[in-house]
Amino acid sequence: MLRFLLRSLLLGALVCSTVLVASFLLSRASGNLAINIAGPEASAEAIAKIQHELGLDRPLPVQFYDWAARAAHGDLGRSFLFHEKVSSLIATHFPVTFRLGVFAIVLALVVALPLGIAAALLEGTMFDIAIGAVALLGQAMPSFWLGLLLIIWFGIDLHWLPIAGVETWTGYILPSFVLAFVAIPVILRLTRSGMVDAMRADYVRTARAKGLSRASIVLKHALRNAAMPVVAVSAVQLGFILGGSVVVEVVFNIHGLGYLAWESIGKGDFPVVQAVVLLFSLIFVGLTVASDLVSALLDPRVRGA
């Protein structure tokens, strides 16, 4: 178990450091950061001055070492444009995105788990086929379009929910729903196929032969085995939801981390972009490591692999 834990952590750390280097290189790849900040009409001296102030005139490895050493101490530098520390920008924008992501994944699980289990138990019936069709429709839905349609229907036509912002908790409903929509088909399909396999397995036949009730067979024996991959994929999906929240945040005008990154990309404010990309990667790696651990705790077979 300890070896498994260490290997999983080491791999996660390696992935993070690779992403760190990659995101640094990406932000410096253009080579004209100072021109972006000074504006296209700035004189050569003004650009040189900005380059010097931001340390952009030093060799790349020196810049990287400096940045990484500060980042390790929680200092992510200053935004070129907001004149604020990147770390405090992130601290103010992160909670909104985090709440959105958590609401979305909970909503996705609440919808997808029961439907997936029901579809598996009713395998081959019209209900099963209808659920499969719903999953297909969900996969094809462009999330920004769904968001706009919901704004028209629930915000304008029915006046039920706010159309922008998250000043009240009702503002979270529509954006969380749109974000959940991305994860629902994946979790639904996985739950269904896992349950179908589990219901055919020997241990379920044994449980039946013992005369256990159907509820106990489904919930205790089959679901526990089918839930394993669902735990893993939910963690991954939460990572995708957070990383992809930019679209929904822009549609609903929610000033979270995705919105901040989008705004910063459009203005060439790369310390912010770099930090947000890095943070999302760290969260993703953290989630996968955590799901590996949960799987290993639940299932001894994983530990040995």
Binding site: L11, L14, V15, C16, T18, V19, A22, S23, L26, S27, A29, S30, G124, I129, L136, L137, Q139, A140, M141, P142, S143, F144, W145, L148, L149, I152, I156, V236, L242, G243, G244, V246, V247, V250, G258, A261, W262, I265, G266, G268, V273, V276, V277, F280, S281, F284, V285, T288
Partner: protein
């Protein structure tokens, strides 16, 4: 029952086939030019709404451009992005996956590490950044998405290669003195290609949605090109009074992606491939 089971393949082939026809022939058949503005004819509603005219069956946009002509060109742009991205990501992903799956050991560990790194980066933010840095154009969008979207090809081709590599005919080819190169090209690839076809449809649908999202966020296909995501972004300021301005391009995008997904599902049932993660 078997009719229902075959429905995805039939419906998917019909929608995707129609989209390809529209993309190839459509721009020649539509009487209007997709770029010509006519400010006297802004927001002409589609034919089925009051005030619509048969001259513009899907209406006109905020600059008086014919919506049908723009939709048709938009479908062509989406398909071009989807195809290019899939070819590029297929080449990258399959190469990585087959190498990892065939050689195993530390080579495989390196491949899986690269895949983990790719999964850890938030794809849409990185794509936005790349398009901003390089400058937005259709080519840049196609290449960026192709270079970012190969992980499903890598994962599926790796696991399929592992299965195939342990078969007797691969061992027989090795004993007969075939080189590694000819085993990979002659024995392994032909036996995993049905998995790859299914992955190609899944990734094509994702690439089209991703490209539309980039255009919607203003860092994808640049105006005045009629990308479907861009059409929605440009029309969204008027959607409260005229919902059809976003409903029409959105529906086109939704049906196009649905068709490709249905085709993929149908092919999976037909060929027995897997769609992967």
């Amino acid at each position: 029952m078997s009719a229902i089971r075959r429905l995805p393949l039939v419906l998917g082939t019909a929608i995707a086939g129609f989209a390809v026809l529209v993309a190839i022939l459509g721009p020649m058949l539509v009487p209007h030019d997709p770029f010509t503005q006519n400010l006297a004819h802004r927001f002409v509603p589609p034919e089925w709404l009051p005030g619509g005219s048969p001259a513009h069956p899907f209406g006109t946009d905020q600059l008086g451009r014919d919506y049908l002509a723009r939709l048709v060109l938009g479908v062509r742009i989406s398909l071009m992005i989807g195809l290019t991205a899939v070819v590029l990501s297929g080449l990258i992903g399959t190469t990585l996956g087959v190498i990892g799956g065939y050689f195993g050991g530390w080579v495989d560990a390196v491949v899986m590490f690269i895949v983990s790194c790719r999964l850890a980066i938030p794809i849409i933010l990185v794509a936005l950044t790349v398009v901003f840095l390089v400058g937005s154009s259709l080519t840049v969008v196609m290449l960026t998405i192709g270079l970012l979207l190969w992980e499903r090809f890598a994962v599926v081709s790796r696991s399929a290669t592992r299965q195939v590599a342990s078969r007797d005919y691969v061992a027989a080819a090795w004993c007969a003195g075939c080189s590694r190169r000819s085993i990979v090209l002659g024995e392994i690839l032909p036996n995993i290609v049905h998995h790859l076809i299914v992955v190609a449809t899944v990734d094509m649908a994702i690439a089209i949605l991703l490209a539309a999202a980039l255009s919607f966020l203003g860092l994808g296909v640049p105006p005045p090109m009629p990308d479907l995501g861009l059409m929605i972004a440009e029309a969204k300021d008027y959607m409260f009074f005229k919902p059809w301005v976003i409903e029409i391009p959105g529906l086109a995008l939704f049906v196009l992606v649905l068709g490709i997904n249905l085709l993929g599902d149908g092919l999976r049932d037909l060929l027995g491939g897997e769609s992967g993660g």
